[in-house]
Symmetry: C2
Subunit: 206 residues, 2 copies
């Protein structure tokens, strides 16, 4: 059985949805970020980065959303969550997820996690002013150049979809004008029509 | 024939080395960052992100180093640059590369590309002061918890190796105390013993 460490409101939601979509036998373990449980010695022994998600498998622990998502797709080929037989299409999918991870998520992180890159209060205030623009620019590129529809990669639902959905749930909180992102917003609605997505979203709220 | 768009001193070096190691038929096309060639309409038509690397294939264009590296490994299985038949080991490799991309490279980028996340000169100065610590922390985790030796993933050379080598070339410029990173520094030396690595490093210098 897989064990997924997550916290509500984090990018771990993408891996949580993917496990559910794959029909995996898994247990979701919630960490309490308010009491800083992700920095406890117990959790650091599992994931020395002190972050979520972490996926415990029979072979060892995996971190980093793009890697976990690709692992789920490969470990459950019958769920058809990725174009596994086509190296180019697989790479396109990984490029999309890497962009979400290293550009879009990083832009968002400057709102609350500025201490990773700076120390001054004035810098943190500067970051917060910039977030609507930097996160907005990332999503604008997705809307204009990357999103194919009806799913991220086109006709087939893939591991890009729960990841885009997850980061998209931060848009309003980041004060991005979502009226400029009709494809992304229709995708959010489409995602919530999937029973697996609804089940996981409800479970993380509970 | 593949075409790799790169600029000297950037993370594109990792994909460049991987193409050479794979024995791929490729042409490396240098962009002049000083004249901002990466933002020219011609290049934006190839890669709307205005960044390097971009790999032009017969099927289309790929971006994002972790995706390009995995593509090269999958497209040239005879080069044995990745554990392609093992989903868990493949994911461990992708997790390492994702960490380099979204944490280590991002920490480094705050030195010169602060305008992505802030607007004030005081913030840029704050970033610059933090870079030795943030980049150093990323490499310290690699040194302590991730690097297996003699190569990143252990006995087998993989696509993690050119990527670690590439980001490692920034350490001294980022004022990280490399004496605290003996494994990473021995890896750099080991990389430069490989003819493919030396050939590409010389080609980018020329």
């Amino acid at each position: 059985m897989y064990k997924l460490y997550y916290a509500p409101g984090t990018c771990a939601l993408a891996s949580h949805i993917a496990l559910e979509e794959a029909g995996a036998d898994y247990k979701a373990v919630r960490l309490d970020f308010k009491s800083n449980q992700q920095s406890s010695p117990e959790y650091l022994a599992i994931n020395p980065k002190g972050r979520v998600p972490a996926l415990v498998t029979e072979h060892g622990v995996l971190t980093e959303t793009p890697a976990i998502l690709a692992f789920i797709a490969q470990a459950f080929p019958q769920a058809k969550l990725a174009p596994l037989g086509d190296a180019f299409k697989f790479a396109e999918m990984q490029a999309f997820n890497s962009y979400l991870c290293s550009t879009v998520h990083v832009a968002h992180a400057h709102k609350m996690r500025g201490h990773r890159w700076a120390t001054e209060e004035s810098s943190f205030a500067d970051f917060k002013r910039m977030v609507p623009k930097s996160v907005g620019a990332g999503f604008a590129l997705i809307e204009r150049n990357m999103f194919r529809g009806p799913w991220v990669m086109g006709e087939a639902y893939t591991i890009c979809d729960p990841y885009l959905y997850t980061l998209g749930t931060w848009l309003e909180g980041d004060s991005v004008d979502v009226s400029t992102l009709p494809k992304v917003m229709a995708h959010r609605k489409r995602m919530l029509e999937r029973p697996a997505v609804r089940k996981v979203v409800e479970a993380e709220k509970a």
